[in-house]
Assembly symmetry: C2
Homo-oligomer: 405 residues x 2
DNA sequence: TCCACTTAAGCAACGCTGTTGCCAAACTGC
DNA sequence: GCAGTTTGGCAACAGCGTTGCTTAAGTGGA
């Protein structure tokens, strides 16, 4: 269902219009530079419209509004939305009130037209989530995992979780079973995988996950893609969570996700795009030094955020932990002009109010020129799976292709 | 000379192909979203080719190499380069050695085809530089300035400096005097203005420059554009310097410029694009807290980098100053996965070796997983004007239009 | 009830983009 | 001197968004 490339089954396009998720790396002729041709142009505009449709949610959006927001002519929007409707990705859904003429037709995304799987491989647990085009979870499965086991075992467990969510959602997803190419079995576009860093998102290889050095250099993306027969994208857990949590905002803002679990990490969405750095090294938040010659940290250095903050949390001193985290967050907010901060991870989950309040307090105390409260601080909702859901966004994000320029 | 829009004098395009520098803000129909049409497509590819031509420098680059690097077909590259040659922006310059067939024709940017002015308004001095398309300075002028004076006086001084550099370069720039539209008098595309923050680069307004609150909200860009009759772009001094210093690299790397002057600021180029933040607030490096409950800072907080580092420098303790700066730099490098660090500013200029060595030492000492020396640390050359030259890049950068996606 | 007016949306023709197919030019090597 | 290889341009083409115009579907006053 809803194969993205409908018009031209013949002649393999030099570049796919809507970038297939996670084909990535070693795909474009040269690193960095990307010339654009008509398919790319079309894919860009299609993605733009799709993104606006998603952002409009239940309320929907009219063709003319799409034209205004994109800067395209109404006729171009009509053509694009016609294609999307033909592919089943969008549908008409009622009318706006008339303003003296023909009322505007409301268009909405058809969330069930395609799905993506998000897979979170944590140290002791594997969680898979099936989400629809709107990013809403429709099925989930989780089970124990030992990241210290041989890769082959971990792969088998991962494939099992993915199969579970695909199976559990199979009955409900049969809207128009035909149409789709053979690759998009069951309407699943691909699988996004999130795991603890370090790793290389471009190459799709794992790194020396703390405690489990045997992962170093393992081509996880390629291995999983082969076993699953689906495109796979790999990224750090914090990056995935940041991508997913920033998605509703849609626009071009800057956003930080701070994760307090075994370690302390960050995911950064800057100007609407996930910032990973050339080596997927960005977001190393835990070893920011906030106390020159401070207490020793497990990393061998002194005065790291992680050492100070997690030590305080471990001994039950939540006030100090929150305050120290707040100082780190404030550094980050000021350095990068961040709009919004979200906290997550097991340590935060147990005391959401304490941490959000503590961090917000430090942000307000800094004489940075921003009005107090200008940077909202929240924590992830209980019972949600920000990392697994965010991982699915590794697959979805390219569909809403994040911008020209 | 070398008007960018050669083909269609008739019918005012809805959007200009190569984005006129610094028209910015309130230009696109909606904030954030940007639909693309054929002129945009053409502009994008033209900018891409122009960027590769610039990056190739004296050595030049062949059409086929351009095709490989951009992913465009050779024929498309031929068309694009033909346009650039017709406009005088590029020229053939010899041949490569044959590899068994017709030798490749080498193309080069014609640096003199257009110029840009960079203007640095510092607290006590105004510096203007005229640079060519390659970013090389061809004329400079500077004189005293009192940023505390009324805006009108400052404007007059600024206009004077700009006029000086334009006049001093007039005789040499007359290659093909005709052709150019009336707007591009003397081949100057626009003026980039850099000044101390805070300010709003999108609106083009100044902020409460420390010590001179009367600048708050002053529409500097509009005022200068009117007086000069040229497009004007406004940004923070550190941002301008970062943009200019990162330019030679060209590619999509991440880069940080750290400025030690009256205060301590940073300019960040992430994934090849200047990161300013929604409020031009990014780069507030001086008040990163590196010492919880540390010595009081002028900003009212405690333990800021600026307080610790500049205080040490002021009392002659360069070792401590460099080390503290290094810790701040290391935080930034690890958080953002930075590739290269450049130091600048008066305090650094006096002791370049001490600071670069000190910072590099801290970077190497951090147990971050990067190999020691993996992040080069350098200082700006004596006698250069990184901020003024970088300001000119505020005008040039859009020509080399920084990328689709 | 009718009719003038307004607004939305689609059809058809069009201009311009990069692409494809083909051919001429230019050099190497036998 | 000729075969082979490589470069680069000309011409025709497919497909993108745009323009001009028509049709659909409402409102509101006579």
């Amino acid at each position: 269902m809803a194969a993205m490339n409908s018009t031209d089954p013949h002649k393999p396009a030099r570049r796919s219009p809507s970038p297939g998720p996670a084909a990535s790396a070693a795909e474009s002729p040269a690193p960095g530079a990307a010339g654009a041709n008509l398919p790319v142009l079309r894919g860009h505009n299609t993605a733009l419209v799709l993104a606006l449709l998603r952002a409009s949610g239940e309320e929907g959006i009219s063709r003319l509004e799409l034209a205004e927001r994109t800067g395209l002519t109404p006729q171009a929007v009509s053509k694009i939305t016609a294609r999307l409707r033909a592919e089943g990705l969008a549908a008409e859904a009622g009318f706006r009130a008339s303003t003296g003429g023909k009322p505007r037709t409301v268009l909405r995304l058809v969330p069930g037209a395609a799905h993506a799987v998000g897979l979170h491989l944590d140290r002791d647990e594997a969680t898979a989530v099936l989400v629809d085009l709107a990013g809403r979870p429709v099925a989930a499965a989780s089970g124990p995992l030992d990241l210290g086991a041989p890769p082959d075992e971990v792969l088998t467990a991962a494939v099992g979780r993915v199969a579970e969510v695909r199976a559990s959602a199979r009955p409900g997803s049969a809207e128009r079973a035909g149409a789709g190419g053979p690759g998009t079995a069951g309407g699943v576009l691909g699988v996004g995988v999130a795991m603890p860093g370090p790793l290389d998102h471009a190459a799709g290889t794992a790194g020396r996950v703390t405690g489990f050095p045997h992962w170093d250099g393992f081509p996880l993306r390629a291995a999983l893609a082969e076993r699953l027969g689906l495109p796979v994208a790999l990224d750090k857990d914090t990056n995935a969570a940041a991508l997913g949590l920033a998605a509703p905002g849609g626009g071009g803002g800057s956003f930080a996700y701070l994760h307090l679990g075994t370690g302390l990490g960050a995911g950064l969405v800057l100007d609407g795009a996930l910032h990973r750095g050339a080596r997927t090294g960005a977001g190393e938040f835990g070893h920011q030094v906030v106390q020159l010659d401070g207490p020793p940290c497990g990393c061998g250095y002194r005065g790291c955020l992680e050492a100070t903050c997690l030590a305080a949390a471990a001994r039950g001193d939540l006030g100090t932990a929150a305050r120290v985290l707040g100082e780190g967050a404030a550094n980050l907010v000021e350095l990068l002009d961040i709009d919004r901060v979200v906290l997550g991870g097991r340590t935060v989950a147990a005391h959401r109010e304490r941490f959000t309040a503590g961090v917000a307090e430090v942000l307000a105390a800094r004489p940075s020129g921003r009005a107090p409260g200008a940077v909202p601080v929240t924590a992830v909702e209980d019972g949600t799976r920000p990392v697994a859901e965010g991982a699915a966004h590794l697959v979805l994000a390219p569909l809403y292709g994040h911008r020209l320029r």
